[in-house]
C-alpha cells in the first residue's frame, strides 16, 4: 500500500468484507493481520507527517473543491496511531473473549472492521460531506456492535443510541447543507479562507448546528443520556472500542472544525462547552461514585472524562490547551479500554459485575487488578500517567489565561475520579468471602487489559513525542 493515508481506509474495509464472506464468527485472523498492518501504516504515516508535514491525497486525482481530498496533519496522524494500536489490543482481547456460541461474536469482526474503517476515514477526511458519511459509518457500526449482544437491555440501549447518533448526524448534515448553500463548497481547505467574522448569519447557524450535532454524538452533558446504557451494556470489547474511540471521533471533528474553518466564529461560544464539560465532570463522577455495577461505573466515568475534553475550548489561545485535549484523548482512550477489558475479565471470572462482588475475585486476578489500578491512575490524573500530563497542561493553560475556575474543576474532577477508582480497588483488599467461585479466564484477556493500562501510564513519559507530532498543523 503505497500511501498509508489510503491504506488505512482500504485495509479495514477489505478485511471487514472478507470476514463477512468467511461467515459468522470467522475472520479473527484476517482482522488481526489487517489491524497489525494498519498499525504499521499508522506508524509510517506518523513518521512521514513528523518529518515532512501534512500528508495529502487527492482522491480521483481531481483535487478539492471538485473532488475529495484526504489529509493527515499531526493531529490526524496521532489519532490514527492511537486508533490502530488500541484496536490491536482490543482485537487480541476480543479473540479470546467471545465464547464459541456467543451471539455477539457472529458479526463482531466485520462490524469492528467497518467501524475502524469509518474512524480512519473520519480522521483523514477533509471534506464536510465526506465527514458526514464517515460519521454515519462509525455511528451505525457502533450501534450494530451494541445491538449484536442481543439482550433486551442492549437492544433498547442500541435503539436509544441510534436515535441520538442520527439526531446528531442530522444536525451536522443540515449545517453542511447550509454551508454548501452559502459558499458552494464543502472542502475544508477551500472553506477555511472564506469564513470570516463577517460571515452571513446562516454560517453562524450552520456552525452552531454542526457543533450541536457533534456534541450530541460526543455525549457531552446533558446529551450523555444514551451513553451509559450503551457502553455499560455492550460486551466488554465493544464497550472498550466505543468508549475509547467512537466518542472521541466526534470530539476530534469538533476540535478540527473549531480550530480550522470555523476558528473566526468560535470564540463567541467558547464558554458554553466548557460549562457543560464542568457539569459533565461533576455529574458523571457523582453517578460513577454511586454506581453499584462495574460497567455502568466505567461508563459514567466516560461521561465525566469526556467533560475534560470540553474544558479546553476557552483556553485554545494557549498551545498547552490543545496539547491537554489530545493528551486527554490518548490517556482516556487507553485507560478506558483497559478498564472495560478488565471489567470483562471479572465478569467472566465471577459471572456478575457488581462492585461489591469483586471482593472475592480481585485477589485471585492480580494482573487484572493492576490493570485497573494503572488505568485508574490515569483517570484520576495521578502522576506519572498520561492523564496527569493532560491535567497539568489544562491547569497550566487555565492559569496562563487567568481562568482559574477551570483549574479548580480539573483538580476537583481528579479527586472525584480517585474516589470511584479506589472504590473499586479497595475491594481487592477487603477480606474475601470464603469460597466465592472464580472461573478460569484466558490469560490473553488479563494481559491485554494490563498492556493497555500500562500504555496509558507509560505514555506519561513520552509526552514530548506526542506534542511534537501534533504540532504539525495543516
Amino acid at each position: 500500500m503505497a500511501d498509508p493515508l489510503v491504506g488505512l481506509v482500504l485495509l479495514p474495509l477489505g478485511w471487514a468484507t472478507l470476514a463477512f464472506v468467511l461467515g459468522p464468527g470467522r475472520g479473527a485472523w484476517a482482522a488481526l493481520a489487517g489491524i497489525a498492518a494498519q498499525a504499521w501504516l499508522a506508524w509510517l504515516l506518523a513518521a512521514q507527517v513528523g518529518a515532512g508535514g501534512t500528508a495529502r491525497h487527492a482522491v480521483g486525482g481531481w483535487g478539492a473543491p471538485l473532488g475529495i481530498d484526504l489529509a493527515a496533519d499531526g493531529l490526524s496522524a496521532a489519532l490514527l496511531l492511537l486508533t490502530q494500536w488500541l484496536a490491536l489490543g482490543v482485537a487480541l482481547y476480543a479473540r479470546s473473549y467471545f465464547a464459541a456460541g456467543d451471539p455477539a461474536r457472529r458479526y463482531f469482526w466485520p462490524l469492528a472492521g467497518f467501524l475502524l474503517a469509518g474512524l480512519n476515514a473520519l480522521f483523514v477526511a477533509n471534506d464536510l460531506f465526506n465527514l458526514y458519511v464517515t460519521l454515519e459509518l462509525v455511528g451505525l457500526a457502533a450501534v450494530g456492535l451494541v445491538a449484536a449482544a442481543g439482550g433486551e437491555r442492549q437492544i433498547a440501549a442500541a435503539l436509544r443510541y441510534l436515535f441520538a447518533a442520527l439526531a446528531g448526524s442530522g444536525l451536522y448534515l443540515f449545517g453542511v447543507a447550509l454551508v454548501y448553500g452559502v459558499y458552494g463548497t464543502v472542502s475544508i481547505a477551500t472553506l477555511a479562507p472564506l469564513i470570516t467574522p463577517e460571515a452571513p448569519r446562516l454560517v453562524w447557524i450552520a456552525g452552531g448546528l454542526m457543533a450541536l450535532g457533534l456534541v450530541v454524538k460526543s455525549a457531552l452533558f446533558p446529551f450523555h443520556f444514551w451513553l451509559p446504557p450503551a457502553h455499560g451494556g455492550a460486551p466488554a470489547p465493544v464497550s472498550a472500542l466505543l468508549s475509547a474511540l467512537v466518542v472521541k471521533a466526534s470530539f476530534y471533528l469538533l476540535l478540527r472544525l473549531w480550530l480550522g474553518p470555523f476558528a473566526p466564529l468560535a470564540p463567541a461560544a467558547a464558554w458554553l462547552p466548557a460549562l457543560l464539560g464542568a457539569a459533565a465532570i461533576f455529574w458523571g463522577s457523582w453517578r460513577a461514585i454511586r454506581a453499584e455495577r462495574l460497567k455502568p461505573l466505567i461508563a459514567w466515568s466516560t461521561v465525566a472524562q469526556l467533560g475534560y475534553l470540553f474544558l479546553i475550548f476557552p483556553l485554545l489561545a494557549v498551545p498547552a490547551a490543545f496539547g491537554a485535549g489530545v493528551m486527554q484523548v490518548f490517556a482516556h482512550a487507553l485507560a478506558k479500554a483497559a478498564l472495560f477489558a478488565a471489567a470483562g475479565v471479572f465478569i467472566q471470572a465471577t459471572g456478575q459485575d457488581t462492585v461489591a462482588g469483586l471482593a472475592g475475585a480481585a485477589a485471585r486476578l492480580p494482573v487484572t487488578l493492576f490493570a485497573i489500578g494503572l488505568a485508574g491512575m490515569t483517570l484520576a490524573g495521578l502522576p506519572p500517567s498520561a492523564g496527569f500530563l493532560a491535567k497539568w497542561q489544562l491547569i497550566e493553560a487555565a492559569l496562563a489565561l487567568g481562568h482559574w475556575p477551570i483549574a479548580v474543576v480539573a483538580l476537583a474532577g481528579g479527586l472525584m475520579a480517585a474516589v470511584y477508582v479506589f472504590r473499586v480497588l479497595r475491594q481487592a483488599f477487603c477480606l474475601a468471602p470464603a469460597g466465592a467461585p472464580v472461573a478460569a479466564v484466558p490469560r490473553a484477556l488479563e494481559w491485554t487489559a494490563f498492556a493497555l493500562a500500562a500504555a496509558s501510564v507509560l505514555l506519561g513519559f513520552f509526552g514530548v513525542d506526542l506534542m511534537t507530532l501534533i504540532e504539525v498543523r495543516a
Partner: protein, 502 residues
Amino acid sequence: MSMHAWLPLAVLASSLVPGLVIFALPESWIGLRTALNLLGALVKLVLVGLLLAGVAAGEQYGFRHAVLPGLELAFKADALGLLFISLSAVLWLFTTLYAIGYLEGAPHRSRFFGFFSLCVTATMGIAMAGNLFTFFVFYELLTLATFPLVVHRGTPAAMHGGTVYLAYTLAGGAVLLAGIVWLHHLVGHTEFAHGGIAAALGPQYAGQLRIVFLLLIAGVGVKAALVPLHGWLPRAMVAPAPVSALLHAVAVVKAGAFGIVRIVYEVYGVEFAQSLGLLFPLAVAAAVTIVWGSLRALFQDDLKKRLAFSTVSQVAYIALGVALFGPIGTIGGLVHLVHQGIMKITLFFCAGNYAETLGLHKVSELSGVGRRMPATTLAFSIAALGMMGAPLTAGAVSKAWLIEGARAAEMEWVIGVLWTSSLLNAAYFLPILWRAWFRPPPAAWPDEHIPARGRRETAWLLLVPPLVTAAAVVVAGVFAAADWSPLAWAKLIAAREYVTPQ
C-alpha cells in the same frame, strides 16, 4: 550515559526492579523473595555509599528527561537529598528484615513486599527530585504505593484507616499540584536551586507567591502531619508495624517534612521567604503542631496511637528548624530529620514486638513487660529517652541545636515551646517506662504467639532491628562531633548550600 547520570537511576532501580519482580512471584517462593528484598536493600546501600563519597568530594550527579515541552523529570543527588536517601536506605534494610520476621506465615506477602519496594523507590525519587514537578510525581507515587500497605490486613478498621489516609493525601496532592502549576506558570520552571527561584520575580508577584507558598506548604503539610492536617496519621495506625515504621520514620511523614525543607530553601530561598514574612507563620504552625501532638499523645492508651501523636509532634521539629531564620536552626531541623527517624523506627519496632509476641496493644497492658522482654524494652527505653531529649542520645543533639537556633534567630518563645514539648514527652513516655520495668507482670499475657526460648525473648528478625537502631540512637548522640555523624552532614549541607556568609 555517564556514571553521573546512571547512579541516581540505579538507586531508583535497586528497589523498583526487585519490587516489580516480587509482584510476579508466587506466594510460596519465600526464599527468592527474601533474597531479592535483601539484595535490593544491600545494592542500594552500596550505591548510596558511592553517592555519599562522590558528593562529599564535590561531584555532581543528575539525570533529566523531558515529559512535555518545558517540563522535565529531573534527578539530582545533592547533599540535602543524600541526607534523606541515606536515612531511608539504611532504615529500609532494617525494616525489610523486620518485616520478613513480622509477616512470617501471613497471607499476600508478595503483594506486601512489592508495594514496600515501590514505596522506597518513591521515597528515593522524592529525595533525588531536581525540581518540584519531579518531587510531586514521586510524592503522589508514594501515596499510591503506601495505600495497599495501610489496608494490608483488609479488616474494616484497616479499610477505614486507608480511606482516611487516601482522602487526606490525595486532597493534599491536589492542593500541592495547584501550587506547583501556579509556580511553574509564574517562574517558567520549578527547579530546586540554591537561594531559591522565586526571588527572581518582581515585587508585584509577592501576593501571588504568598498564596502559592500556602498551597505548597498545605500540600506537603498533609504528609508532614502539620496540625490541622494530621488527622490521617493516628488512624493509619491499623497498619502492620513495619508499615507504621515506614510511614513514620522512613518515608511518608519524612517526605512531607523534606518537602518543606526543599520548598523553603530551594524554591523560595530562605532569605526571600523571610522577606515575604512566610517563616513566622510556618514557625507558629510548627509550634502549635508540636504542642498539640504532645498533648494528644498524653491521653492515648493505645500504644501505637500514642506513638503516632508523638510523631505529629516530633516531625514538626523539622519544620520548626527550617522556620528559624539562620544556619543553626537549619542544622537542628535537618539533623532531626535523621534523628527522629531512627528513634521513631525503634519505638515502632518495639511496639510491633509487644503486639506480635505477647498481644499487647495498650499502654495499660505493658505492666512488667520489661522482665519478659528485656532487650526490646531496653531499646524502647533508649528511644523514648531520646525523644525526650535526654543527654547522650540523638534527641539531645537535635534539641540543643534547635534551642541555639531559636536564640540566634531571636525567637525566645520557641525555646519555651521546645521545653514544654520535652516536658510533655516525658509525661507520656516515662509512665510507659515505669510500668514496663517496675510494675509486676500479669499472670498470663493476652495473646502470646511466640514463646520465650532461653534468652531469646522473641524471633531474632524482630529483635535485631530495634536493637541496632537503638544503638544508633546512642551512637548518633555520643559521637555527634564525629566526621561521619548525621550532624556533620547537616553542617555540610548548611555550609555548602544555604547559608550566605553572615
